[in-house]
């Protein structure tokens, strides 16, 4: 079945994006809780989380080089890695 590979790819990309947003929101929430800047930490870090999510997706799709790819053995910039 061909649908399997596409499905796995879709889940991979979406999980990368969702993870970025979730972690951004989580960090913002924690900062608000600790520093008491509610709701600004949440707002700023949710947006940064979106950015990080997009970055994750682009990296995972191979459109951007991994930051460490420059010196890692067996890894070239732009490699489309699993």
């Amino acid at each position: 079945m061909d649908g399997g590979a596409g499905f796995a790819y879709a889940l991979r990309l979406s999980s990368e994006f969702i993870a970025g947003v979730l972690v951004g929101a989580g960090i913002g929430y924690l900062i608000d809780r600790i520093v008491g800047t509610s709701p600004w930490g949440m707002i700023v870090f949710l947006l940064l989380g979106f950015v990080a999510g997009i970055l994750n997706v682009l990296r995972s799709a191979g459109h951007l080089a991994e930051p460490e790819a420059k010196i890692g053995p067996g890894a070239k910039p732009g490699d489309n890695k699993e």
């Binding site: 999510g53 994750n56 010196i71 699993e82």
Partner: protein, 250 residues
């Protein structure tokens, strides 16, 4: 119950051990299947390599294939230096693979469809990367978050984004495995449920039930593929993160 696609993910206590210092440490069906996973994986590898020959028997070559596969995966991603992490990567790969495959037995619990199990594995991986990275490189490990050639004004923003991106790795690692296993098993159960419901509708229903039955068979094959593929993806990403710990950017 027979038609409830979520029922297979219910956790129930087998040996209740409650309130150990405020924690519920009960031995549940999830714990049972994790113990079984470890026992089967370890037992298989031990028994198949116990009296090994120069010309491997069929089972021995399965074990050797698993070893070679993981070793080349780790060597490709992290270089020969990465081989010191081989036991770690191999254990994780075998655990996830055996847990996924065991979930394919009817009435068995799929431990990798619980997010807490996959998240613990991902935290273990990322924890290893962080601890080893700081041990080996000290504060230079933080260079991982500082890309080259970024103008000074943008640096705080970019570093913050890279930090979030780094901490989203365990989340995406665990969510991916969990979501694949959960979605696959629910789909399988839903289509299998159609067979039962349709076949109660008389002769026409029984004829119509053939379609979801074929779909269930196809999905079962697909699920075996997903079980292997997800174990592979988990292990490959582990290797890549270990590569970060060994060679962080400048």
């Amino acid at each position: 119950m027979a038609n409830d696609p979520i029922h297979q993910f219910q956790i129930h206590k087998i040996i209740p051990i409650e309130n150990v210092g405020g924690l519920d440490l009960s031995f549940t069906n999830v714990s049972l299947f994790m113990v079984a996973t470890v026992a089967i994986a370890a037992g298989f590898l031990y028994l198949t390599t116990a009296n090994r020959g120069l010309v491997p028997s069929r089972m021995q070559s399965v074990s050797e294939m698993a070893y070679e596969f993981t070793a080349s995966m780790l060597r490709d991603a992290a270089g020969t230096q990465g081989m010191r992490f081989f036991p770690f990567v191999f254990s994780i790969f075998m655990f996830v693979l055996v847990a996924n495959l065991m979930g394919m037995f009817p009435y068995f619990f799929t431990v990798t469809s619980s997010i807490i199990v996959t998240f613990s594995l991902a935290i273990l991986v990322i924890g290893t990367v962080i601890v080893y990275g700081f041990m080996k490189h000290g504060l230079k490990f933080l260079g991982l978050f500082v890309p080259e050639g970024v103008p000074g004004v943008l640096m705080p923003l970019v570093v913050m984004i890279e930090v979030i991106s780094f901490f989203s790795r365990p989340v995406s690692l665990s969510v991916r495995l969990f979501a694949n296993m959960l979605a696959g098993h629910i789909t399988l159960k839903v289509f299998a449920g159609f067979v039962v419901s349709l076949s109660t509708l008389g002769a026409l229903g029984i004829g119509g039930a053939i379609l979801p039955l074929l779909m269930t068979i196809a999905l079962t094959g697909l699920e075996f593929l997903v079980a292997f593929l997800q174990a592979y993806v988990f292990a490959v990403l582990t290797c890549m993160y270990i590569n970060d710990a060994l060679h962080p950017g400048h």
